[in-house]
Symmetry: C2
Subunit: 132 residues, 2 copies
DNA sequence: TGCCCCGGGTACCAAAAGGTGCCCACAGGA
DNA sequence: TCCTGTGGGCACCTTTTGGTACCCGGGGCA
């Protein structure tokens, strides 16, 4: 089968750097990006850094802050500082962030529903490394 | 909102390393993994390395081979060597591979349909870096 | 006064990922 | 004979990524 016989959207779409799907993948490639977006979403769209940190085992303070800064720069997350004493900080998904949540949730849902598939993948790797 | 008020699948699902969604994400985190799976799928489920290489601009021979080896180890792709002269090699998606294609296609489709959203993200980043 | 919480920042380091360049054998065409 | 293309391997280097450890100021608490 050649590329020429495929529908238009397929023929052009994923075949250069800078196309939409590859940009989306790059966005999600950070180790904690989707975790944080997803958790923020689960927690109702907003939450305080402390709560976020405790919700994601393995996430370090540094990586959380760093990832949140990047998400802020992309306009996916907004940082609100409530001027009380002591200062309360809250991160919430922006409108754009709530859009990006869609593919994140798709992925998480698929993953949760097809854990068996992933188990099989891991089994294959384990057997390949042992057996040869 | 607290975690306790959420449905079960959500409360436990993505909150530890090794849960299904995070494993799926790790699988997709390689720069060329989804590109190769997707292209293999578009090309009809199988193709020769040369064709694959030419279909994905920016992909180097080394990275292609390396990624294909990993996919083979995971049992997502099968390598067939036709014993003719010169040897013809073909990679095709396995049954497991055709399962994993599902979330890949979801992502690619969403990306293609929501390019505007990704444009906005890039704009935000550009403006953030300029303005300050 | 010491201690822990909060939210955050920074310096430094280790590991992983990715990319380039060069190598192999074999075959066909000029 | 040289150059092309096929399918692949390996050495090396750079960049990116992620993680640890330590720092700040402020407040509550014993």
């Amino acid at each position: 089968m050649s590329l020429a016989s495929l529908p238009d959207a397929y023929r052009q779409a994923p075949f250069d750097e800078g196309c939409a799907p590859r940009r989306l993948l790059r966005l999600f490639s950070g180790k904690w990006v989707t975790m944080i977006l997803h958790t923020l979403h689960l927690l109702g769209g907003a939450s305080r850094p402390g709560a976020l940190l405790r919700s994601i085992p393995g996430l370090s303070k540094k990586m959380m802050t760093q990832t949140l800064r990047e998400l802020e720069e992309m306009g996916l997350v907004a940082r609100e500082v409530h001027q009380v004493m002591p200062p309360v900080v809250e991160y919430r998904l922006t409108v754009l962030g709530r859009k990006i949540i869609e593919p994140v949730e798709m992925l998480y849902r698929w993953g949760a529903e097809h854990a068996v598939v992933l188990d099989r993948v891991d089994d294959n790797v384990a057997r390949a490394r042992k057996g040869g």
